[in-house]
């Protein structure tokens, strides 16, 4: 009896560590793999009747598939892609398949391979699919692959993304005008270029109307974890920030700000419904027109591999409608800047800009090239925080 008790303690301790490790690496994994695994065959059965299209000449209406990182109901990033898919389906009369919750691991390569066997065009919508998409593209030369936010291309693989920092800059203008104590907060997702250039654009936007504005940043290392993101937001609010912007998909930051009477915005989609009176605005993706254009060009036979970068001008990047309490004068300021961005008069990353260590990073009059922006690894002056190495 006694002996069993002890070995039980050992095994329980072991299990605890195991549990802790599981939780540590994002407890979601087991569940997501599961859903993906059950979803993948479903996506295939939809095409059971068809022969593998990859070996045949493209049919009149191509078969299209999407690979999603999250569920379409995430109210954020994947939701916007799914809206784009629905728009494309309506415009072109095509029924597209999608697989949701695909982890950015070897599973992704298996799922992309399966989709490539039965589809003409595969959109892989998250950065982590880059290498897997490239591998599969090598094996299916007749299938077109389009990968969001990456930088690797092939003969039959292009990339697409947009300058969402333009909208972050506009959100910054609104935040810089709305703050009472010049303390802004940014709840950063991961310390990668994509988030860094959005954070910098937010800070530059705020400083363009309010030179005193400072932006404190915390990194959550999550894309979707409301509990963690709420803690991050509260620590910024406790520090005194009264306007926050978050880069994650959850409305946790907005809710935390609303409870303290502060203003906040989220990312990817319009989040005003969660707290209309405390909502600022934020960048929004609008993928639909691009998906229509890409699929149409494949149908016309004019498609060629490219690195497509959308912006506010072509409508891939938009700004969400303002919250109820954003004053008209602020709206007007933002609208003016928006018009200048669209006309090309205003470039977000125009010198002189120095980093928060005091080094000049953009010379007076110089503009950063898109490549320089996409590889950004420094924080602009006025951002309080560091980029973890």
């Amino acid at each position: 009896m006694k002996k069993r008790g002890r070995s039980l303690t050992f095994s329980l301790t072991f299990m605890f560590l195991f549990a802790v490790i599981l939780a540590g690496c994002g407890g979601n994994n087991a569940a997501t793999t599961n859903t993906a695994a059950t979803k993948a065959p479903a996506a295939n059965t939809g095409n059971d009747g068809e022969a593998p299209v990859a070996t045949e000449p493209a049919a009149e209406k191509p078969t299209v598939a999407f690979v999603y990182i999250g569920p379409p109901g995430d109210g954020g990033y994947t939701y916007q892609h799914d809206q784009g898919r629905l728009y494309m389906e309506k415009e072109l009369g095509i029924q597209a398949d999608f697989v949701e919750n695909v982890p950015e691991s070897a599973d992704a390569e298996r799922i992309i391979t399966e989709l490539a066997q039965t589809h003409d065009i595969v959109f892989t919508t998250s950065f982590g699919y880059m290498d897997f998409t490239l591998n599969v593209a090598g094996k299916f030369p007749n299938v077109k692959f389009l990968h969001a936010s990456g930088y690797k291309t092939a003969e039959n693989m292009g990339t697409y993304f947009g300058k969402n920092y333009e909208a972050s800059y506009l959100s910054g203008i609104a935040a810089g005008k709305m703050t009472k104590n010049n303390q802004l907060g940014y709840v950063g997702a991961f310390p990668i270029s994509e988030v860094i250039y959005n954070l910098n654009a937010f800070a530059l936007g705020a400083q363009s109307v309010n030179p005193e504005a400072k932006v404190s940043v915390v990194w959550t290392n999550t894309w979707y974890d409301p509990a963690t993101e709420r803690q991050a937001a509260i620590s910024l609010l406790d520090k005194g920030a009264d306007v926050l912007l978050a880069y994650q998909d959850s409305p946790a930051t907005l809710q935390a700000a609303a409870e303290r009477g502060a203003f906040a915005g989220g990312n990817d989609s319009d989040m005003s419904k969660y707290a209309p009176d405390h909502y600022l605005t934020n960048p929004v993706w609008n993928w639909g027109p691009y998906y229509v254009k890409a699929v149409q060009s494949v149908m016309d036979g004019t498609w060629k591999s490219e690195q497509y970068s959308g912006d506010m001008k072509d409508g891939m990047v938009e700004l969400a409608p303002f919250g109820n309490k954003v004053p008209d004068e602020v709206k007007q300021l933002v609208e003016e800047a928006k018009a200048k961005i669209i006309s090309g008069e205003l470039n977000v990353f125009t010198g002189p800009v120095s980093d928060n260590q005091g080094n000049v990073k953009i010379q007076d009059g110089q503009k950063l090239t898109l490549e320089e922006v996409l590889g950004m690894n420094w924080l602009v002056n006025g951002v309080e925080g560091t980029i973890p190495q």
Binding site: M1, R4, G5, R6, L8, T9, L12, T13, M15, F16, L17, A19, V20, L22, A23, G24, G27, N28, A30, A31, T32, N34, T35, P71, G73, D74, G75, Y79, N101, P191, S216, V218, W219, T220, N221, T222, Y224, D225, P226, A227, T228, R230, Q231, A232, I234, S235, L236, D238, K239, S250, P251, A252, Q255, K273, Y274, E384, G385, T386, P388, Q389
Partner: protein
């Protein structure tokens, strides 16, 4: 408010779902049934709260439904483990996977729709002027008050009443308990069901206090932390309170250290709770090396009448 008070407030608010789930786990395991289904149960609790709250607009009805739905999961778990004597680890893992899958399916129609309200707070104006205590307890969620009350109630129940004696007897030595005339199966059923309902409430708290909307995988693995905390607290409600707040504090401490301008990578800060856990386990293991571990002796062992051990 100073740094410590702010941290305490954050710790208690982050600790509430952990505490509720840990207390649920303690009830389960005190009766001798392992509970690994916490994450699935929390997700089911969260999705039920969302669906009922959105459909009826009544928070209390939503919480009631949450308790009912997760109690059904508890019933299923106890039927598998007590009556059918299935492997408790397997049954628990099945609860987790089943719960996360089912919650994702049921939650599709309400996904992303904001709830009509958030966690209601109990406002105690007479407490507010008191330093430290005022800011912490002056405006606290009802669910947090409930969890604190439960700590006390469960502590007294387990250690000071004959019901608790029966519970511990069933968890430590069901054969002896059976001989004494205690209805082992009935006790196991009721505590597993009650425990599951508490874990369901933890899920409800997550959705009400953190993000006012349902999204798939909302707990982000918090249920697994609770599974660990049950052991960390060594099946004791008072220690569970301490452990939950400790983990809650560590959760938010990382961001506060970032804001103080530290150059320690956040990846490292994120590891702190787990490193501390290992260190504390080592320390406790060393200090208590000659004492009983506190593990219910019959944990994980199905009870079969008249079977020899």
């Amino acid at each position: 408010m100073d740094f410590t008070t702010q941290l305490l407030i954050a710790a208690i608010s982050a600790g509430t779902p952990l505490l509720l789930a840990t207390l649920g786990g303690i009830l389960n395991e005190r009766a001798g049934i392992i509970q690994l289904g916490a994450d699935g149960l929390m997700l089911m609790g969260a999705v039920t709260t969302c669906i009922v709250y959105l459909r009826t607009g009544n928070l209390w009805l939503a919480l009631l439904a949450t308790v009912a739905v997760t109690a059904v999961f508890g019933l299923l778990h106890s039927f598998l483990c007590v009556t059918l004597r299935a492997n408790q680890t397997m049954s628990g893992l099945a609860m987790t996977l089943f719960g996360s899958g089912l919650s994702a399916y049921l939650g599709k129609p309400v996904s992303g729709i904001p709830l009509p309200g958030t966690s209601p707070k109990l406002h105690l104006p007479w407490l507010e002027p008191i330093p430290v205590l005022g800011p912490i307890f002056g405006r606290m969620d009802y669910l947090t008050w409930l969890s604190l009350l439960l700590v006390l109630v469960l502590h007294l129940l387990i250690h000071r009443t004959s019901w608790g004696l029966h519970l511990r007897a069933v968890g430590d030595n069901p054969a002896t308990a059976d001989v004494m005339g205690i209805r082992v199966q009935l006790i196991r059923y009721s505590y597993v069901i009650a425990g599951a309902a508490l874990i369901g409430l933890a899920g409800a708290d997550m959705v009400l206090a953190y993000a006012p909307t349902w999204n798939e995988g909302l707990t982000a693995g918090r249920g697994w932390i609770a599974v660990g905390l049950v052991i960390f607290a060594r099946w004791n409600p008072l220690r569970a309170l301490f452990c939950a707040c400790f983990f809650g504090a560590l959760d938010s401490l990382g961001f506060r250290i970032q804001l103080l301008g530290s150059t320690v990578p956040p990846y490292f800060l994120k590891m702190i709770p787990y490193i501390v856990t290992i260190l504390v386990l080592m320390y406790l293991g060393y200090r208590n090396r000659n004492k009983p571990s506190g593990t219910p002796e019959a944990l994980g062992v199905p009870y079969i009448r008249e079977q020899r051990f």
